[in-house]
Symmetry: C2
């Protein structure tokens, strides 16, 4: 499945999709964007995502965000899902894996929700 961002040009990233209000999405665009929305469509996953996103330095390990009321294996499971959806990146440092929000992906999702004149 194609990523939301085309990172083939190394640093330069191109959002997959226009604003939702600009024109009807193609099937391929919808597949890509729906995958990201779906990943945030679970309350526990969304809480964990905001816990990572708002953590000092923009990154967190499982050890930092254990106060969501689910077990550590469940936290790890959800973080892995968010990573698979391209919303988080991860890096192992010593005992822990640190997760970080991918700011360009957040920005691309935000762009999808931009209002264009057609919807005004």
């Amino acid at each position: 499945m194609p990523p939301l961002l085309d990172a083939s040009a190394s640093e330069a990233v191109a959002p997959c999709c226009p604003p939702l209000t600009e024109r009807p999405f193609t099937a391929e665009e919808a597949e890509t964007a729906a995958r990201m929305f779906k990943a945030l469509g679970d309350p526990v996953r969304l809480r964990l995502f905001s816990a990572v996103a708002s953590h000092k330095g923009g990154e967190a390990c499982v050890c930092d965000i254990s106060d969501v009321g689910v077990s550590q294996p469940t936290v790890s499971h959800h973080l892995k899902k968010l990573k698979e959806a391209g919303l988080l990146t991860s890096e192992r440092r010593g005992t822990w894996v640190y997760y970080r929000v991918e700011p360009s992906v957040l920005a691309a999702m935000g762009r999808l929700l931009t209002l264009t004149p057609a919807a005004a």
Copy 2:
């Protein structure tokens, strides 16, 4: 379940949630926001949503958006789901029900994805 927007003060709407990068979401905030993301987490539903959102005048009936490759009852089913999630409003005019994007809800979702200094 609480709406994403508090519309109790008639015209003035207050977004349910801060940006995802500002602080960890509470359970209640996550429930509300996840419901909206989940509604957009299906490719067919996302295509229909963008078809409505980008249609002339910002509204469309089932008769306008039949080119997504699913049956008309399926289109109606998905539009109803989007309405239940608070992303669309509807109005019957004659034979057809017209669906319209709720711009304030789109804006509130966009705000969730705003980057704050913590994530930079």
